[in-house]
Structures are given as structure tokens and as C-alpha cells.
């Protein structure tokens, strides 16, 4: 026996070098970086502080929700309601503050709403066995409708006594001129990454996506974890809603419309597998970044905005194509 036990324990299937090259997230990141380099040379307006500030800030709303969505997708589920939940939470915040309550109360009401919506989704899915697609499709409709009911379908742009605080929260740049939303995104991404890698909760999220039946048999509290995951997803939409409200300075009942598809696209481009069991926090950010860079660059290059969908759709297919090719090679 030339190999000691310690060596066996330390033995990895692939070293970090080859595992980076095998990861979809890495190649998407390469695409983002190459696109940025290309745009810096091809246009005079890309690499300006204003444009970079705008890009990084625009990324955040999709990226923050993509973090929550990634957890849902890792468990093998989907959450179509995030766009509407963002709208509902923004509206609750706006109405509460408009009615004269402070920013703390507004945020608490908004977060509370998100958690209730998430718990509703999660309980129907985990305890009553509803398909996630159906429940969250229903919530997509319900949440936006409730936002309309709550506001009587008006635009809210006055946020009571703490109006300026809210605008500073979302629109300010408290650290080195980096837009606040970007800071929140970075903190939330680190937190999500940490949870996925280092906590038992994160391990269970992956286990449920890998083999839900096995997770149940080994005593993983599958139902509770699933409810928690949908609550986190709704919470991420709520947080994005609060920040976006502060940034926009107004809430209408059509904000976040169709956003769920961008969020899912970001997660999938970043390497999350809709079949469950695979996904990273970093991937969600990279996926969101690619979508935003595509959107931004089309404008700067003077390409008709109608092409946007084609390019983003192409990116989704291309990103997943890498994964498919790798799997085909493995199965041969």
C-alpha cells in the first residue's frame, strides 16, 4: 500500500484548474469580460464612469433576485412570482411611508409581506404537493393584483417624513462612489455563497435538488427547507423592491413586470440547472451581468432595441449549450 489514508482523503477528482475550465460560470464570466473589453474600444461611451455606474446599478435588481432564485432552482423548483412580489413589496413600502410612517416601519411591512407571500408559496408546494410552476404562476397574478388594489392603481412618489432617507438608501453611493444597490448586492451574494457552501441548510438545499426522496429518507427536513427557500426567494424580491423604490423615487403597479424571466435567465446563464442540484451565488451575479452588458451594449452600438430579446435568448441557449456538450462528452 503505497497510498496512505491521508492521501486518499485528500484526493480530489479534479484539481481546481480543470474544474474552473469545466464550469459554465467561468466561460460566461469570460464572455462578460471580453464584451466589456470590446465595448471599451468600440465605443467611446462604454468605459465612462457614468455608464459603468449605471450598468453596475442596473445589474443589481435582477442579480439580487437571481440569488434567491438560484436557491429555488437548486432544489429543483421555480419561482415565477418574483416580479409581481417585487411590485407588491415596493407598493406596500410606498403606501406605508406615504401614510406617514417612518422608513423602518415601511421596510418591516414590506419584508413582512414578502415573507408571508413566500411562506404561502412554500407551504402549498412543500406540504400540499402543488407543482412550483402552478403555485408561483398563480402568485404572479395575485401579487400584482394586490399591488393594484392596495394603491388603487396609482403612482406613489411621495414617501412621507422619511422620503429623503429612502431615496438615499436606494440612490446614494456611501462607499467609494459605488452605488448603494451594488453594495447590497455584494453583501447578499457573499451571504448566499456562504450559506450554500458552509451551512447545513445549504447542504440540504443541494441534497433536495439532487435526490429529494433520498433527502427525505436520510432525515433531511425537506418540507421545512423548501418553505424556507421560497421565503428567501420572495424576500430577495422584496429587498430588490425596497432598493429599487429608493432608486426610482416612485412606484407604479407595472414595475417588475416580466422580470421573473430575466431573473431565471440570469440564474440559468450563470450555471444553475433547472433540473435541480446545481447552482452558485457567483453564477447568478455573472448571469445577471451578462444580460445587462448585452442590453447596454446594444444601445451604445446603436443597434435597434428590438434585437435585445434575440441576443439575451441566444445567450441563454449558448450558455446551456456548453453544459450539454460537456455532458455529451462525459456520457460517451
Amino acid at each position: 500500500m503505497a497510498i496512505t489514508l491521508d492521501q486518499t482523503i485528500a484526493q480530489k477528482q479534479r484539481n481546481w484548474f480543470s474544474s474552473i475550465f469545466a464550469s459554465q460560470t467561468f466561460w460566461v464570466l469570460v464572455a462578460v469580460v471580453l464584451a466589456c473589453i470590446f465595448l471599451s474600444f468600440a465605443t467611446s461611451s462604454f468605459a465612462t464612469p457614468t455608464n459603468l455606474y449605471n450598468i453596475t446599478r442596473n445589474v443589481t435588481f435582477v442579480a439580487i433576485i437571481a440569488l434567491g432564485m438560484t436557491l429555488v432552482i437548486i432544489t429543483g423548483g421555480i419561482d415565477l412570482s418574483v416580479g409581481s412580489v417585487l411590485c407588491l413589496c415596493s407598493m406596500i413600502l410606498a403606501i406605508t411611508m406615504h401614510a406617514g410612517y417612518g422608513i423602518g416601519t415601511g421596510i418591516a411591512a414590506s419584508i413582512g409581506t414578502a415573507l408571508v407571500v413566500g411562506a404561502f408559496n412554500g407551504i402549498l408546494i412543500a406540504y400540499l404537493g402543488f407543482p412550483p410552476f402552478v403555485v408561483t404562476l398563480g402568485m404572479l397574478s395575485i401579487a400584482r393584483s394586490l399591488a393594484m388594489v392596495a394603491s388603487n392603481n396609482t403612482v406613489v412618489f411621495q414617501f412621507g417624513p422619511d422620503h429623503d432617507k429612502l431615496l438615499a438608501l436606494g440612490g446614494g453611493a456611501w462607499l467609494f462612489g459605488i452605488a448603494n444597490p451594488v453594495l447590497y448586492m455584494a453583501v447578499l451574494a457573499l451571504l448566499t455563497g456562504f450559506v450554500l457552501r458552509w451551512t447545513r441548510f445549504g447542504r440540504y438545499v443541494f441534497a433536495i435538488g439532487g435526490n429529494e426522496h433520498a433527502a427525505t429518507l436520510t432525515g433531511v427536513p425537506v418540507r421545512k427547507i423548501k418553505v424556507a427557500v421560497y421565503m428567501i426567494s420572495a424576500l430577495s424580491a422584496g429587498v430588490a423592491g425596497i432598493i429599487q423604490t429608493g432608486w426610482l423615487g416612485a412606484v407604479t403597479t407595472n414595475i417588475g413586470a416580466g422580470m421573473e424571466l430575466q431573473v431565471i435567465a440570469a440564474a440559468v446563464i450563470g450555471g444553475a440547472n433547472l433540473a435541480g442540484g446545481v447552482g452558485t451565488a457567483f453564477g447568478a451575479l455573472v448571469g445577471a451581468a451578462l444580460i445587462e452588458v448585452i442590453r447596454n451594449s446594444l444601445g451604445l452600438l446603436g443597434i435597434n432595441a428590438f434585437w435585445q430579446g434575440t441576443f439575451i435568448g441566444g445567450a441563454i441557449v449558448l450558455a446551456v449549450l456548453f453544459d450539454r456538450l460537456r455532458n455529451l462528452r462525459q456520457s460517451e
Binding site: L5, D6, T8, I9, A10, Q11, K12, Q13, R197, W198, T199, R200, R203, F206, A207, G209, G210, N211, H213, A214, A215, L217, T218, G219, V220, G277, V278
Partner: protein, 263 residues
Amino acid sequence: MKLRLETRSLLWEARQLVAVLELTNISKHFGAIQAVNDVSFSLEAGEVVGLMGDNGAGKSTLVKMIAGNFRPSHGTMRLDDQDLVLHRPVEARQRGIEIVHQDLALCNNLTAAANVFLGREIRSGFGPLRILDYKSMYKRAGEIFNELKSETRPRDLVKQMSGGQRQAVAIARTMLAEAKLVLMDEPTAAISVRQVAEVLAHIRQLRDRGIAVILISHRMPDVFSVADRVIVMRRGRKVADKPIAASSPEEVTGLITGAIEQV
């Protein structure tokens, strides 16, 4: 060597006094269907029992009652001389009953070590801030695989493993817990001949640690090579329960099919 043999026989006698598992007049019906009918048997520490029978003979219903999936309609179960009343599979696990499922219940997207520790992760830190202790889990999993003489490596993804290695992961789980009783459902049904030998060796290793094993199998050679006793079920009833040495594959086949009524 002689001393060891004596120790073993002494241990053997001590074990005879208290059965690990004791089933008395166990029945289970689903509506009008009588799946298990008045079955009694007991099992001692370090004993391997082959549970055989045709499809629908009631063996998997019986095992599911021991595993906490179903509750018996009649009869009592005792584990280590204490009543065994199970409402959920998790409770069986807490009482020291481990199950190696036919489909192995493994998560393909996780490593071998993660699968071994699934539901029982080692964590370090304190209070709510406890993080997964990867180092300890890799180490312990590596030790268990070493003990099993398996080539499985703790950091390997289960996705990329052979059938035998996957079995080793599932069996390693049971060794983690210091189980009293291990239920194995068709562990050799879907793997190659060489890997069957590995799995049978693992069963002997469990036995040598004083763990009682119930082996459900269709494969006559496996049961005859590893079991101490064979129990045959037919149409919900126990039709044979005898030492393996006193039986033969022919007799067991006859009992399974009904050519031999009962022994």
C-alpha cells in the same frame, strides 16, 4: 486464537439472552389485502438473516414496518428489549435501525462524504453560527471507506461512481451511526459480479462488528454465502425459519414457490 474463539462464543451466549429485534405476531393489512400475516421472529446481535420470498410475499412490507414506514395492524415489535413503536422513518434511525435502500438513496450531485453524512453533518462553531466541518467529515468518511476496504474516495462525486462504490457509500452511512440493526433491500440486484463480492464482504464486516443484518434478496447464492439463517415468506406468512446450514437452495426455492408447503 483459541482465546478469541472462546471470547466469541461467550459473546455469542450473552447475545442469545437478549434479542436485538423481536417481532411477535406481526400482521399488516391494507384494506382487504393481508400483506403480512402473523409473523414472529427474533434476531441476535451479529446475526445475518436472509429474508426471501417471491414478489408480493410480504417481505418488503415487513421490512417497511421495521423501518418505520408503516405501522403494524397487529402484533408488537421490540428492539433491545424495549418497545419499538415507530411513526416515521427518522425515528427508526434514531433507535439504531439503518436501512440500505434498494435505490441506495444517494444524491448524485454530492460527494461521497456528503452522502455518508447526509442528515448527520458534523459542524463546528457554537450557537447559531455553526458551519460544516468538511475536514472532519472527509477524515471520518475516509476512515470508514478504508475499513470497508473500498476504493471510494471521500471527495469523489457519487455521480461518477461504479455500482459497488455506490453500495459502499450507502453501507458507510450505516457504520457512521453505530447501528444495532441494518436492513438491506436487494443490495446485489443491480451490480456486477465482482462488486457483489465487495458488498457481501461489507455485510460480513457489519456482522463482525456485532450488527444484526436483515438481507432481502432474490439471489440464492448471496444469501447462502453470507447469511446465518434464512427466513422464507409466502403470501404474507412465514413458511420457514432455519439455520442456513440446515437448508438448501432447492428447499428454499420450493418454499418460495409453494412446492414445499412449510418446514
